[in-house]
Structure formats: structure tokens, C-alpha cells
């Protein structure tokens, strides 16, 4: 049994000489962690298409994922459509992945005059296993379907992320909807749940509609925004990319 409260507290609050985050004046791409499971093909397709849209808007964008990400069905790594960069990191755990994210965010941030961001595909099982993650998790984006079960799972995920990184700015995009109103209602339910359970607000990053073109893009590995730029899927992707870029230009406020 601990002899004093201070001994217990220090398990939860770092000591004064604990390492802190990188200096604020270091130019680097803002990082959005996007928790995605290995078999989450649809969300992975959304994420890749989203990265392409950010690049189409002129933003410098890096999509980083562990090399072992099965089921993403993404194209080969490297510079892809309109300059979007896909990096599959050969890493064996969260510490290495986050280290790679830190390196890439700093390197690519130097030439991001028009703004940009780094999207990090984070395996959900790694959230609690990432030492020092709090310094990196400035922002997280949840891709959430409007079904009740998915909303509940997203709320649990939000709690895990906030425990790992209490200063996190948490956002959500509602995907797989057939109406704008359906997305608005789903977001409202999720935001209410996150505020009730975790005492935190939720930033909205629009919606992604359920569109056959998306599924075709998964098979063809061609981004929706280029193959069908006027489709509902492409228009919603573009808006989400705009919202992300707008917020990337502002410091995370938590």
C-alpha cells in the first residue's frame, strides 16, 4: 500500500523532470491520429481518399500507417495522386510508429507553405501501449458510422484516447450516411455521449456519404476525387478535407 497520496499521484502525473513535448516553434505538420483496425477496409478507403483530397486542395499530406496494416487495399507507398504521400512504416509497436510520425511531421513540415497535415493510422490496440504518446496526440479523428453500436464503440474509443492524451482535440466524421440530417443526428448523439461520459467536447468534421463510387475506388485503387470529382462521395470528402486543413492552421485547443 502506498504511504502517501503523492506516491500514488505520480503514477498518473509525470514528475517535473519528465520529458516534455517538442518545442512549439519547431515547424511540423499537425498530426491527426485516426484509430483504425486492420480489417477496417471501408474506413481505410475513406482515410486514403481523404488524404488525396487534402493534397488536391494544395495541402502537404502524409498518410502514415504500420506496414503490417492488412486490408487497407491502398496503392503502393510513396508519392501518389496529386502529391499525397503514403508511408508504410516497418515498425513493431506504437513507440516506433509514433517516433516515425514525429520524424515525418518535422521533415515534411518544412516545405508545407500551403499548410498540411499528417494522418496517422493508429491500430486501436496500440493506444495505451504508446509511451509518451500524450505529446504526439494533439488531435484525433474518429470515423464513425451512424448506427447505434458504432456510436457506442466510438465513445469508448474516445475515452481510451483521452486517457492516453488528456489534452487531445477530438474530432469525428460521420460516414456511411444517406442524408445530411442523418449525419447531423448521429454526430449530436455521439457528442452528447462523449460530453456526458468524458466531459469533453467533440469537433465535427462533416460527413462522408455512402456512395457506390467509394466501393469502386477500393477495388480500382483510384481516388474518388479524381475518378468521379462531382460524385456525392467526392464532394463530402472535399469538405472534410477543407475542415481538416482549416483546423490544421490553428493550434490545437483541446
Amino acid at each position: 500500500m502506498a504511504r502517501s497520496l503523492a506516491e500514488v499521484l505520480h503514477y498518473f502525473i509525470p514528475e517535473a523532470d519528465a520529458p516534455t513535448s517538442a518545442p512549439a516553434d519547431t515547424p511540423r505538420l499537425p498530426l491527426w491520429a485516426v484509430p483504425l483496425g486492420d480489417r477496417d477496409v471501408v474506413r481505410a478507403a475513406h482515410l486514403w481518399n481523404l488524404a488525396v483530397e487534402v493534397a488536391r486542395l494544395g495541402g502537404r499530406v502524409v498518410l502514415l500507417a504500420p506496414e503490417a496494416s492488412d486490408g487497407a487495399l491502398w496503392p503502393a507507398p510513396g508519392r501518389g495522386p496529386v502529391g499525397m504521400e503514403l508511408v508504410l512504416a516497418r515498425v513493431d509497436g506504437p513507440a516506433a510508429l509514433l517516433g516515425e510520425a514525429r520524424r515525418l511531421a518535422a521533415e515534411r513540415g518544412v516545405d508545407a507553405a500551403e499548410g498540411g497535415l499528417l494522418l496517422l493510422r493508429l491500430p486501436p490496440g496500440w493506444i495505451e501501449r504508446a509511451p509518451g504518446s500524450a505529446a504526439l496526440f494533439e488531435r484525433a479523428l474518429l470515423l464513425v458510422a451512424p448506427e447505434e453500436r458504432d456510436l457506442a464503440a466510438a465513445s469508448v474509443l474516445a475515452g481510451r484516447l483521452l486517457r492516453a492524451a488528456p489534452d487531445l482535440a477530438l474530432g469525428a466524421t460521420i460516414h456511411g450516411v444517406r442524408r445530411v440530417g442523418e449525419a447531423a443526428r448521429a454526430f449530436a448523439r455521439l457528442a452528447e455521449e462523449v460530453e456526458r461520459r468524458h466531459g469533453r467536447g467533440l469537433r465535427s468534421y462533416g460527413l462522408l456519404v455512402d456512395d457506390l463510387h467509394l466501393y469502386r475506388s477500393i477495388v480500382s485503387r483510384r481516388p474518388v476525387g479524381l475518378s468521379h470529382p462531382h460524385s456525392p462521395a467526392a464532394r463530402t470528402l472535399r469538405e472534410v478535407a477543407e475542415l481538416l486543413l482549416e483546423d490544421a492552421r490553428e493550434p490545437a485547443l483541446g
Binding site: L9, G181, G199, R235
Partner: protein, 185 residues
Amino acid sequence: MADEGGRDDTSRAALRARLRPKLPALCGPLRILAEETLGAEAPIDLLGVTPEGRLVVVLIAEAGRELELVGLALAQRAWVERRRRDLAQLVPAVRADLPTRIVLLAPDFSPTTRLALQSLAGEDFVCARIVHPAGASEGELWVELLRSAPERPQAEPRALAEAPRSRFRSRLSDADLGLGGDEPA
């Protein structure tokens, strides 16, 4: 009286040790939970809890740096507020629904600092000057209360009210997307 916080021969830890017994005179009984613990990228000198369950952040300024400390105090309070629920689970004496109090201790408060503090009227800031009385024994400190806690501190639950309002964002409509129907967003 002479400045105390800026004296080179007094370590910060020793200063904290001498100030701890003075805190109840400023803001009532206080149970110290942690000392020199890392907050918003800077140490919090003392973190305590009042008998009613209110968390108290105590910050000590060096001579001439009290204005800087006001800004730091706001940041530290925000940092603690975000962890209040977790702390309440860890330390049952902490009430998650009570806002955090700030106690600022400094050798003096400049007119500029006092002006800044005036703009924080209504905020739960306690300010006290650290003084070393003439003729007092070596190491003896007094604290002079300059600003006390609000008489009627906000005790009502406000965690949910404080949470940033979450608003759905989209400029698109069903018509824009050719989705049919006119269901409003």
C-alpha cells in the same frame, strides 16, 4: 521587509516547505496531494485539496516574475481541470464538480500584475505577498493576503456546462449532394 522569493540562498524546495504551513491562513485547511509535479509543461509547486473537495493549485513566483505567473496559473488551472475527473476517481476527497482554485504567492505584485488580476474579477484566485519581517529570525516568513477567494465561490456542477459546445459542421445539403428529399441537416 525584504523580498523572499528572489533570494539566491533559498532553494525553491525550502521555500515551499516554509510556505506550506502558511497556506491555511490564506485559503483554509489544505491537504497537499503533490509537490513540484509537472503540469502544463511547467511544475506546479503544490497541488492540494480543500475539505470541501476543491482542488487548489499553488504557484510561487520569483521576484519580478509574478505577471508571468498569472498566465502560467491560467494554463495550469486548465491543465488540472482536464484531469479533475480522473483525480476525483483516484482521490475520493476530490470533488469532480468543483472548479479549481489558484493560489499565487510572490514577493510582490506589480501595478501591472494587479491590473491584470483585476480583469480576472470573480475568478477563484487567491494572491498573497511573501514577506520577511524586519527583525524576524532567519528563514521566518509571513504571507500577506492581497486577494481572497470569492465569498460565494461557484459550487454548482459545471463540468458539462463548461464542455465546448459540439456543433455539427457541414455546408452541404441533401440537394447539393443530389441525395433527394429535403431533410434539413
